[in-house]
Amino acid sequence: MFAYLVRRLFLMLVTLFGISIVIFFLLRIVPGNIVDILFAAAGYVDPADKANLEKELGIDQPLVVQYVHWIGGFLRGDFGYSYVSEKPALQEILPRIPITARLAGLALLFSASIGIPLGVISAVKQGTKLDYALRVVSLSGLSLPSFWLGLLILTASVAMFGQMPIFNPNPQTWLEAFATYAVPAAAVGFRSAALTMRITRSSMLEVLRQDYIRTARAKGASDAAVNYHHALKNAILPVITVIGIEAAFLIGGLIVTETVFNIPGVARFLVEAIRWRDYPIVQNLVMFIAVVVVFANFTVDMLYAVFDPRIRFTE
């Protein structure tokens, strides 16, 4: 177990290192350097300013030096300087993290509490009309773009209440906080719920084919005991492992949903930074997202080891 943990941690660091290199060079394959782009976007070029900025950003130095400089800064929490707000980027990002984290948490909760039970029901009732209906619902969940779902919610709210829900940055009560986050979280979570449901269904179907299910029936166990006691215990394990995949999936949804609902979260900040061509910040934000996703996967793997009795002893 300990050796496994060390190996897993090491691989995680290798992956993160690889990601940092990919991001670093991806943002440098553009013809011309970041300063050119910044200035082109700003619409004027003053050679002195340009040289200053190049020096400030360290762009006049060799790539390796630039990389080491950047990654060192990232590790120290130096996320660069936002040209838009003229504040250190970290000051911009930190207050946004809880907003996005709350949204993501609520969306995951939504996804698990709806997706898992419906997936189980769909598998248990395989081939019935109910199964068909649930499969159509989950497929449509995967087919509706979450930004459109968000826009539809806004449209509906205008039609019904004459106004759009406005993001409340400082909810006073629990209820207010829930109301602020619930609707956008549902818009994101619908898609994740659909994914969870599909994964749960196929995992259940796989387990229901196993020999030990037949053994349980041969014991005289009822359908309910077989499905919810014997099968679900086994089927839920693969569902846990894909929470990591869902985290990556969720971030895509958060990016568009925060944009639609005008929520000042981290995900929308990434889009803004890209729009403003604030590449130093883009670089740091993408790296930050990668760290979150990789850690989520790592945590899920550890969780799996806790839940599956087979792993504890075989390692």
Binding site: D211, Y212, R214, T215, K219, G220, H230, K233, L237, F313
Partner: protein, 335 residues
């Protein structure tokens, strides 16, 4: 004939079919047999001959769809199981009739402790407290000669060897003292050295508890060691039935003879040891497109024209030795 009250299981004209996309698959076709208290009946045949489906049919565990029991009766201790509703059938399964499967590696739930799995079987059928059921589970584990039963009960299946798992399966199957135990190739997946131990264990417990046993196997060596009576199945049909002595002394069906010739060191007196093992040419025919006559005819050295045209009736060749073959009388001579 023994006393009828001794009869544990009476299967009459059982028919189980599968509806597949290549047609109707008659997996069990008009099969009848009986098992008495404490008796061992062996069902032998090649894989695909319908012996496992026969076993599942007795428990009504044939997967539906595509399978369905379409005829006959399965009378266990006077009750026709095919007439019961689902709840009544569940009360019988694991209680009066139990089954041990071929694969001990996959037949136990990997995320449940061994003890819990036995406790579950007990509490489904006996009104016992958790403590009592747990004590019984450990008692059962001791009965199947698992060392340190209390510790093993707390372990998960993957912590046990294949032989130990099969012992646990046996403990689970016998926990409610069933009238009938079905063992579907219980030793096939195990190491040769373990096989004999497990067989001996099953037989000992059967004697001790007076259970009727249906032993499904493809291994005639196992049959000779364990069973009192044998039925031989081919392509879903019973082609021969006899006492073990009668069958090994003088098999009446060419298929049975072929099975015997294809295993080394058969304890049959009239089959001389040969340098090379015989094999039955060809393979089991598809049960979908069976020939009109005897299904074995295309592989049979003795086949005559009649064999291809007309299915032979199951005839009594004396002393309850049944065989379905037009040329049964000549089988002993020709071989």
């Amino acid at each position: 004939m023994a006393d009828m009250s001794d009869l544990v299981l009476d299967v009459k004209n059982l028919r189980t079919v599968f509806f597949t996309n290549s047609g109707l698959f008659k997996a069990v076709d008009d099969v009848s047999f009986t098992v008495r208290r404490g008796e061992t009946l062996a069902i032998v045949g090649e894989s695909g001959c319908g012996k496992s489906v026969t076993a599942l049919s007795l428990l009504r565990l044939v997967p539906d769809p595509p399978g369905r029991i379409v005829g006959g009766s399965v009378t266990l201790e006077g009750t026709d199981l095919l007439t019961l509703d689902d709840a009544e059938m569940r009360a019988i399964r694991g209680n009066r009739i139990s089954m041990i499967f071929q694969e001990p590696m996959t037949s136990l739930n990997p995320v449940m402790r061994i003890g819990h799995q036995i406790v579950e079987a007990v509490r489904l059928h006996r009104n016992m407290s958790a403590k009592e059921a747990h004590d019984l589970a450990i008692e059962m584990l001791r009965l199947v000669r698992i060392p340190e039963p209390a510790r093993r009960a707390r372990e998960y299946p993957h912590q046990l060897s294949g032989g130990m798992r099969q012992r646990a399966m046996i403990a689970m199957a016998l926990a409610c003292r069933p009238a009938l135990l079905i063992a579907d190739e219980p030793t096939t997946a195990l190491d040769v050295t373990i096989q004999a131990q497990i067989l001996a264990l099953i037989l000992d417990l059967q004697k001790e508890l007076g259970t009727g046993l249906v032993l499904i196997t493809h291994d005639l060596g196992v049959v000779a060691q364990t069973a009192q009576r044998v039925i031989v199945m081919y392509a879903g049909k019973k082609v021969e039935e006899a006492s073990v002595e009668a069958l090994f002394a003088a098999p009446k069906h060419p298929y049975t003879r072929g099975l015997m010739a294809s295993i080394p060191a058969v304890p049959a007196s009239d089959v001389a040891p040969q340098a090379r093992l015989n094999e039955i040419p060809g393979t089991v025919p598809s049960l979908v497109r069976l020939p009109a006559g005897c299904a074995f005819a295309p592989r049979c050295k003795l086949a005559i024209k009649r064999c291809q045209e007309e299915y032979p009736p199951l005839a009594d060749w004396g002393g309850g030795h049944l065989a379905a073959c037009w040329r049964a009388a000549e089988v002993a001579e020709v071989a």
